[in-house]
């Protein structure tokens, strides 16, 4: 039997109503997660770090900082649940992008990391595309905050700030020790971070008036297996001071090679990079790690938050001293504090709301030296300051500025053979 015209029309109308109802119900169902997300009490933080590969030690050190960050945040009164979603990008910039995308697809509301400028640049692009705020713990390449990104925030120096502060402290060091070296040679890694620092040195060194001729710059691969030629070349310049921009494995190789080649400059000074103050550096080189100098951001010994972090660290990692992890752990804890603070004020996990809250950040109670944490229009915190650290008896100690100094600086450093057993 053929259906009547009306019946057919009625059937269509009923079908339409069913479909419309289903669509409405579906839309409501699909919309529900957004509502749930907006009311969420838990903040999912995607933590991207190089926990294996050439930067493994540094990434693992940052991870440990992240592991105690929730406890520090709770002690500071932040009433938020933090869920850390960790990813290892294996010290491989190409992998950092994929890991960031994966974390976002798995529900990360904010990204934190990555202790590497190359990776930071790649992750920033993903964060911007997906509208997920990215808080950089450590990465100094200036271009990261020069792209007009709206979701990228950096609580760390730019290479220019890092090197500028580093050179200023070098001048203070020479004045404090009444020693004026005549020349320097600069050895640096040739990755994104190293080249950014090299650019900053080229730009700022002539105006720094250090009274030292910069005889040569020598680049090398951070994954180099052997630095004998590089060190021989630096030694041949006859420079009084070796300035370095290192990572960690290369910093160890470099000093080992200096000892083997019996090169004893007046000092090894790092105007702002990791390597010389890390726990692994002390553990591997022993007495040869002493007297190296690094001008870099450091924890404020007079801050109550530093004490909280130190106590939480000692409880969680009793065998790994806080002093060997200060910069990595300190900036990572602060990055998570920044996220918690923004989430608490935003009351939402929506990317835009979180980014808006981040732009209004002002955190006075903090770990690292400098003024309050706040971001300029580019997402850069410009209130961080450096300290001059010198390795003494297996620890990095603040030797300048003098009002924060734990010990007076020793410069020139004693020769390799004059350091006891």
């Amino acid at each position: 039997m053929m259906p009547s015209k009306d019946a057919a029309r009625g059937a269509k109308r009923r079908d339409f109503l069913k479909t419309a109802g289903a669509v409405t119900l579906g839309a409501a169902t699909l919309g529900a997660p957004a509502i749930v997300r907006a009311q969420a009490k838990t903040l999912n933080i995607g933590l991207l770090l190089p926990k294996s590969g050439t930067l493994a030690f540094l990434g693992q050190s940052c991870q440990k900082g992240a592991d105690i960050a929730a406890e520090v945040c709770a002690q500071l009164g932040y009433k938020v649940n933090i869920k850390l979603m960790s990813a290892d990008f294996e010290s491989n910039v190409d992998l950092s992008r994929a890991r960031a995308e994966k974390l976002i697809s798995e529900g990360a509301h904010m990204l934190v990391g990555p202790f590497d400028s190359g990776a930071a640049g790649a992750i920033a692009q993903v964060a911007e595309q997906k509208g997920v705020p990215f808080v950089i713990n450590i990465a100094a390449a200036p271009q990261i905050t020069e792209q007009g990104y709206k979701f990228v925030f950096r609580n760390f120096f730019t290479a220019g700030q890092l090197v500028g502060n580093g050179l200023k402290l070098m001048k203070e060091l020479f004045v404090a020790t009444k020693t004026q070296p005549k020349s320097a040679v600069y050895m640096h890694v040739n990755d994104t971070f190293g080249m950014a620092n090299k650019g900053a040195i080229d730009k700022l060194y002539p105006g720094a008036n250090l009274g030292m001729e910069l005889k040569a710059s020598i680049a090398y691969d951070p994954a180099a297996r052997d630095l004998s030629v590089e060190v021989a070349k630096a030694k041949a310049t006859g420079a009084d001071v070796l300035m370095v921009t290192t990572r960690i494995n290369d910093a160890i190789l470099l000093v080992r090679e200096m000892v083997k080649q019996r090169w004893e400059p007046m000092g090894i000074i790092n105007p702002g990079s990791p390597g010389l103050y890390e726990q692994q550096f002390f553990a591997t080189l022993g007495k040869y790690s002493d007297y190296c100098i690094t001008n870099v951001a450091w924890s404020d010994p007079k801050s109550a938050v530093t004490d909280m972090a130190k106590a939480a660290w000692a409880k969680k990692f009793p065998k790994d001293p806080w002093e060997g992890n200060i910069l990595n752990a300190g900036f990572t804890i602060e990055a998570i504090m920044i996220c918690a603070d923004a989430f608490q004020r935003a009351g939402s996990t929506d990317g835009k709301a979180l980014a808006d809250a981040l732009r209004k950040t002002k955190i006075e109670k903090k770990i690292m030296l400098g003024g309050p944490i706040e971001f300029d229009a580019k997402g850069q915190n410009n209130n961080i300051i450096s300290a001059c650290l010198q390795n003494r008896s297996g620890w990095a100690r603040v030797v300048l500025p003098s009002d924060k100094a734990e010990r007076p600086p020793i410069f020139p450093m004693p020769g390799w053979g004059n350091r006891g057993a």
């Binding site: 030629v229 041949a236 494995n249 083997k260």
Partner: protein, 288 residues
């Protein structure tokens, strides 16, 4: 400036001798079995981890660990050849290639699982000591490693020249069919050859551990380096491999001094291209 070149050249030569020993293993295996061992570097990193375990367990210096590691690697190489590679000897080259690449991948990932991705080394008391002869400063570990590499290479040359088994292996390399006709146990000799090549790797791994840290992911770069050395020296030529190792070590070091140190490995590849262009059979290789 001449002091700088002298120091770099001597250091490069000493490291090059160890590289040469590493490449000898590849050359021996290819020269006789005619199978290109694409798992060469991965087998060597395995030997380096073996030396680290011996150092941790028995405080064994890598120089001392060379003997047990070489024996262990010999047995492993013999077993690998008889159990796996032997059935591929008569198969097309691309099949052999795929087999050895698969072995390499398995080795790398096994090492990653067992030891993790971080760099490891063995700290010996004399690691930072050096000798000074006027302007020339040479670090102790490099001298020890080079002397040991020369001694192992000398023993290998003597084995192939003066022992009956060595001569039989050379006969297999020269004429496979002829060796079978005169009654040589070719399969066993192939196994021995693979074992000897692997033992060379074991020794080279222990020596390299004195100079460099090890990670599982370094395997492919060692394989590549060994290939360059063997191709430059001449496939199957033992003297060529040693000489080429020396040449690569010195050229890398001198290029690092004369040009940019971060571009030094580029000169190794330039050397390879020159040899392929003007002497395709390698420096001491025979024309096909």
């Amino acid at each position: 400036m001449s002091d700088l070149y002298l120091n770099a050249a001597v250091g490069g030569a000493l490291t090059g001798l160890v590289y040469g020993l590493m490449a000898l293993g590849l050359s021996v295996i290819f020269g006789v079995v005619r199978v290109v061992n694409f798992a060469h570097g991965e087998m060597m990193t395995g030997a380096m981890y073996g030396a680290i375990l011996l150092a941790q367990a028995f405080k064994l210096d890598p120089l001392v660990a060379m003997a047990p590691i070489a024996i262990g690697m010999f047995l492993l190489g013999y077993g690998l050849q008889r159990g796996l590679v032997n059935s591929f000897v008569q198969r097309p080259e691309h099949t052999q290639f795929m087999l050895m690449v698969a072995v390499a991948i398995i080795l790398t990932n096994s090492q990653l699982i067992a030891f993790g991705p971080n760099a490891r080394n063995v700290q010996v008391d004399y690691a930072l000591d050096s000798y000074q002869f006027g302007a020339l400063i040479i670090d102790k570990v490099r001298i020890f490693a080079a002397i040991a590499a020369l001694a192992v290479s000398g023993a290998l040359f003597a084995f192939f020249r003066f022992t009956l088994t060595g001569r039989a292996i050379r006969a297999c390399a020269d004429n496979y069919l002829g060796a079978q006709v005169v009654g040589l146990n070719v399969k066993h000799l192939y196994g021995l050859t693979f074992g000897i090549g692997a033992a060379c790797l074991g020794a080279a791994g222990c020596l390299l551990l004195l100079l460099l840290d090890v990670t599982p992911l370094q395997g492919p770069s060692y394989t590549l380096l060994a290939f360059i050395i063997v191709i430059v020296g001449g496939m199957g030529s033992l003297t060529g491999a040693l000489l080429s190792g020396l040449l690569v070590g010195v050229s890398e070091a001198l290029a690092g001094v004369a040009f940019d140190p971060s571009a030094k490995s580029m000169f190794t590849f330039a050397l390879l291209i020159l040899v392929l262009l003007f002497r395709p059979q390698g420096l001491l290789g025979r024309r096909p």
